[in-house]
Amino acid sequence: MKNKKPCPEKYKHCYGKNKWSFSSLTFQLSHFRTKHHASFIAGLFIILFVIFLATLSFWYTPYDAYQMDIHSRFLSPSISHPFGTDEYGRDLFSRCMVGGQIALQVGIISTVIALFGGLVVGFLSGMSNKVVDEILMRLMDGLFAFPAIVFAIAIVSVFGADIVNAMIAIGIVRIPIFARQVRNETISLKHRFFVIASQSIGTRLPALIWKHFLPHIGASLTVLVTTNFAFAILSEAGLSYIGLGTQPPFPSWGRLLMESQNYMDRAPWLAIFPGIMMALTVLGFTLLGNGLRDFSDPRY
């Protein structure tokens, strides 16, 4: 401890800040040579592109995503309709853009639920005694035994098929994964000297969590958050495909695939492009997650 290296001039601005802040994140990223990680960069660009398309669709789509036009039914992909048109003559590209909106919405909301649920359960479990810990962890095991899609179907069957219920269900089913991570790291952190020292000078629990635990857990949680986006988008697509997620007229990618199946011989493009959009988005999040995992790995 005595011979600790002085903080390099470059990183002075983040030194001594215990708060989980953007500058400490950029510090971590710059420290681990973000620039040289090709797949991280590729993932970032793909995600930015999808976010751009989805955000743009709030104000502008090439055609109205809901307006039916009976004269342009089943047009195959061309320059004016890059993804073709569907059975009501709606432009598939515009509908896929709006679908991006829904996918990102699902990703954000279910991830927020999983993250907060996981943080609460994880900290409770990690900081309290063995009995509480054991009960909470077994409950989490029980929740984890339900495959995501099955649990989501259960929730939707009771509370009704709509997108909000689907998002909540997908979020809840991912709580155990976050909770386990938070719990394990909390347990390993709570015996470290800096935490004990902080407790001994009277730091209260909320401050302790905010100042010491969150900054340490943050890095591994960012990995989980990114991969959770990919998972949520795939789950919602599956759920919408069987008609229990997004309800018409909203064009989520899973819903578009479901509707495409009646016209597979006439219009195969309806079954291809929404899937490509989905695969692209998931690829982006996966690459991003791989990059973040490498950065948080000390061996990298």
């Binding site: 035994a145 695939l257 899937g275």
Partner: protein, 312 residues
Amino acid sequence: MLSFAIRRLLTGIITVFAVSLLSFFVFNALPGNPAQVILGLDADQNAIENLERELNLDKPVVLRYFFWLSDLIRGDLGNSTGYKKPVTEVIVSSLPPTLSITILSVLLTTLISFPLGILSAKKHNKFIDYLITSTSQIGLIIPGFWLGILFLLIFSVRFHLFPSGGYVPMTVNAFEWLKSVILPALSLAIISSSVLIRMIRSSIIENMNEDYARTATGKGVSERRVFNKHILKNAMIPVLSVFGLQAASILAGTIIIESVFSIPGMGRLLLYSVQRRDLPVVQGVVIWIAVVTILINFIMDMVHMTIDPRIR
């Protein structure tokens, strides 16, 4: 060894208990009166009260849970409101297609992932390794049901090689049976394989660099023997638990893939029951799948225990 098995069994039972608690909470804490839902809105007040008594709805929640649990342990999941038959019977009758797909898919996963994973690790950083790992990346980013749709598009719509849906029981015509389940099984297997291939590859490569492998080579054991006897055995240990998880996710995947290929299995049953608000059936299927998932993980832990003396 026995104490580990018993401890593992106990956690398994507790997990099943947690599953039952969660399902009871989801299915029986629903807003509104279940008796009213079953009988319809314009039902007689007397009939509702009778049914409430029959379903124990007039009792406190905790008591209801224990009634429900004791029925569950005896295998009584209640009666389906749609089919007017015991739920267990309804589920069992829908099992054959689902089990066919699941088992065939697990088989295919094994046949695809182990040879390719081992090959990829042996040819580490060669062209064939890059080819396998980059192809398996595709399996990670697309959902199984879309792969199923693409298969339908290619093999049924374009080339008319396979039926575009439906299920033929094995007892009727084994060849037609295989034709009806091979595409759904394959699309699930490809997704699971791509996870496993990467896992197998990285696990083997990690073990190749271990000290024990070098020691064995150093004392003159032939390279093939080191690989087959030492590295492969150790590398399979972490793969096993992932294999169990993949088997469980294949089972869950059948629910959606059955819709793609219109196969009348458990997924179809689940879907119909949700649409008709036949909650006892939904509850039965959900619990069944969760319990099978726990069972698979338990079996995998037992296999793990028998091959790895370190955790006994």
